[in-house]
Symmetry: C2
Subunit: 485 residues, 2 copies
């Protein structure tokens, strides 16, 4: 049965957000030597990681056997800490977690982030029983649990992180909610090279009390967040998610990657976070009805976020494609076709204009265009971009560049793209993609530089097609919504 947000919030002890990001944190389950009993989690590393990140709030180590840890006074229990805490991070083994929840309730701790695994996700009776015990104690004690089985969060603007190995991330407009800490971590590790800055990244593991909807609501209200990215495995209350997302979409794009939509993937989701994955058909209807942007991989999610951050609204997804080499042009056309990015014929005016400065030998004059000579000549290239920009059949320009050119730095070709986007003739914008980026290449630096200069350069052509289509689809959805309203 579906609940209203008010009902859920009342049940869970209020809306998520007050006291987050936390200004005071206790770490429960912190050893003096960094040897944690729980594989993968280590309070000492989390403590050190928060310090290294430059966390400006108050940090309290909790260890009944220590007097001090890393020069900080240690407490036997959260109840001994002389302030009401925003957050306790718990890394003790699963069977010891219920007692920590009792302590947190007694101490009036707002949020308890349970890193520890060994709960519902095991599928075992003992894990399920422990999880139910956590819920009961938390509800009774007015404590809100993040997790369990959860890697936590990262808020660059507040210098707070529970991912100690990632380092400082650039601040920005992308908010990430992920049921998987591993995916959150990977997204963060690649965010900088994708040109993405983060407002917050929050993983929530089993989502026992606070789950995706609560965190999505939080990012919807957060002024720093311009684009919301969500990785889901399962969801407790599908109708509540749909209603929330539908409400937020007109304000900001909500990009959702739903894992476990195949048989094998859904079996894995069940044992990862104890999630019921739901069928492809149900989720297709969800996307159609809410206007959430569908992606199917982490890379697609990052590329869609990058496109939303870098492009103004697109009126449609009819692309003019310009690339180098016959085979590459055929491939570009096919990749557009498979990603449902339209590559229409040029208008008669454009067709008349182009031959005036593009030779017909080895140069395709139709769309997609094979224009190697033009791409190497900034004056001709700028002219071509402007001619194509005035074509009423075209919504967006997409330039395919070979990886060899990328590795050499694009030079004046990039400058032509930069200038075009700065001026945006006829309101048009241009994106670029590496056409042949397979096999390992070292183009990270080049990609980043192009993005810093305002050119959304994608590491793959398929990624660019999909991302552009998604941006256009979002605004198409908004348009239809306005007409209906």
């Amino acid at each position: 049965m579906s609940q209203t947000n008010d009902e859920v919030e009342k049940e869970n002890g209020g809306r998520f957000g007050q006291g987050f990001p936390p200004e005071s944190i206790a770490i429960v389950g912190i050893s003096r030597n960094g040897r944690s009993k729980v594989p993968g989690y280590d309070g000492l590393r989390l403590f050190q990681g928060l310090r290294d990140y430059g966390y400006a709030g108050r940090l309290y180590p909790v260890n009944p056997k220590a007097d001090e840890i890393l020069g900080e006074k240690a407490y036997a229990s959260v109840v001994d800490i002389p302030e009401r805490l925003d957050l306790a991070i718990v890394t003790v083994p699963a069977p010891a977690v219920p007692r920590v929840i009792d302590d947190c309730a007694a101490a009036g701790v707002r949020y308890v982030h349970v890193c520890s695994s060994g709960f519902g996700e095991t599928g075992l009776a003992e894990g399920l029983r422990l999880e139910e015990e956590l819920r009961e104690k938390a509800l009774k004690g007015g404590v809100r649990i993040i997790g369990p089985n959860c890697m936590g969060f990262n808020v660059p603007s507040k210098r707070i992180t529970t991912f100690p190995d990632i380092g400082v991330l650039p601040e920005g407009g992308v908010g990430l909610i992920s049921q998987s800490g591993g995916h959150a971590r990977l997204f963060m590790m690649n965010a900088a090279s994708m040109g993405l800055g983060l407002s917050a990244a929050i993983s929530y593991g089993n989502g026992l009390m606070l789950d995706a909807v609560d965190f999505i609501e939080y990012l919807a209200e957060d002024d720093r967040t311009q684009v919301i990215c969500v990785y889901l495995e399962g969801i407790r209350d599908g109708r509540r998610l749909a209603e929330t997302v539908r409400r937020i979409v007109p304000k900001k794009p909500v990009i959702i990657w739903k894992g476990g939509l195949t048989d094998a993937g859904s079996r894995a989701a069940a044992s990862h976070t104890g999630s019921m994955a739901g069928s492809e058909a149900i989720w297709r209807a969800f996307y159609r009805q809410t206007g959430a942007v569908r992606v199917d991989t982490l890379e697609e999610m990052a590329e869609a976020a990058m496109a939303f951050q870098m492009l103004r609204p697109l009126p449609g997804a009819r692309a003019a494609v310009m690339t180098m080499g016959g085979g590459s042009t055929v491939q570009s056309g096919d990749l557009c076709g498979r990603a449902n990015l339209a590559v229409p014929r040029f208008s008669p005016e454009t067709q008349k204009e182009i031959p005036k400065f593009v030779s017909s030998v080895n140069q395709g004059l139709s769309n997609p265009m094979d224009v190697p000579g033009v791409l190497m000549d900034p004056i001709a290239f700028t002219r071509l971009l402007r001619v194509v920009a005035q074509d009423p059949n075209i919504d967006v320009l997409l330039v395919g560049l070979p990886v060899e050119a990328a590795l050499g730095g694009f030079g004046q070709t990039t400058q032509a793209l930069v200038d075009f986007n700065r001026e945006s003739p006829h309101g048009k914008q241009v994106a670029a993609a590496i056409t042949d980026n397979w096999g390992p290449h070292e183009i990270e630096k080049q990609c980043r530089e192009a993005r810093e200069m305002g050119v959304p350069l994608f590491p793959t052509f398929t990624g660019a097609c999909l991302a552009l289509n998604r941006v256009a689809g979002y605004y198409r959805f908004l348009g239809r919504r306005d007409i209906r309203a």
Copy 2:
């Protein structure tokens, strides 16, 4: 109307192969200063490239205005060269090519490789007329044309290349036929890092006389070639291609990437090589009926070739998937599902055996498996591989490794895979893939090392799923064929 191979060969002057690779080559259109009139082609660079490659045959520069070029005596025309040539490479502008064909006919040159563009691919009346003139002159004069609008070939074992900028390629069992010289070049540039050695790579541009079928026939008879890769845009005689491929498939796999199967792609194919692309439905029937292995990108082609080279026949494509991290396991399952690689449940025996040495906390015991601890422990990992190998539900093992592990070198994990494939318990084989290889990474070296040790390590997980499925599909096709025969 379809022709038999005999009819076509008679018309084109005999089967392709005699005199190839050529033992004597003239280069027609070679300047003294390397400044060619035809953009993109340069006889001097081709000449120098053949020398640098270590070509052991006889090389003749043809330039009526020079006495010698790079220390080699220059001839005014091919008719002046004092031997019957296997090959003339022509880089003069399109309008001058017919006269060169006349000269080659007079001199009894076997093959003429026409690099020059400006023929049928332009779609212009003049180009089409010139192309028809070439055909008539060649047929009358008993000369066979490769091209026009063609970048040529590379035969590492004979040190012969018309791709002067690629360098020496490793010899091996992969033969490539490509209508696009650009794709051939890109394939060759990535072949070494994909662990592929080449028997020959041949591009044929507009395919005026000799086309894909002739070259496929050649590779079918070539003992060095174990796997045939083909990139096609269009084909003159579909029935002849189908009959030829159907005949070859039982001997060696024929991997075909058909470009231009979408609207935009087929428009580009028309202006690239003047090809009629054909519909998706026709080509789907072609693949089904011939047993050709379908791929849809260059990367997929290289990965399928790598899988065919490294794996023995697979009886099926039911995979046991082992990876690290919950989210990554869900994703692996979904990628398998989308690539139609089956991930069946383990047999009851396997399910009973695994918990004996794999802990249930944070470790999925179903397929796909989330076994981070096991993958880091070579003894447990070896044991897991062996337990899974005896499962009758499993045809092949697939290990997903995070890029971080790859960048660090896999160490003992790789050794466990190497040992497994060396011994191949119960006839099973293992492959590996990077699960999170997005964003640019520098793992080329690691991938190559794993392959050199006998582990088919794919740069992407999707690529691995697709490639394994293709290998299995090929052998499934062979099995069905044997039953029908």
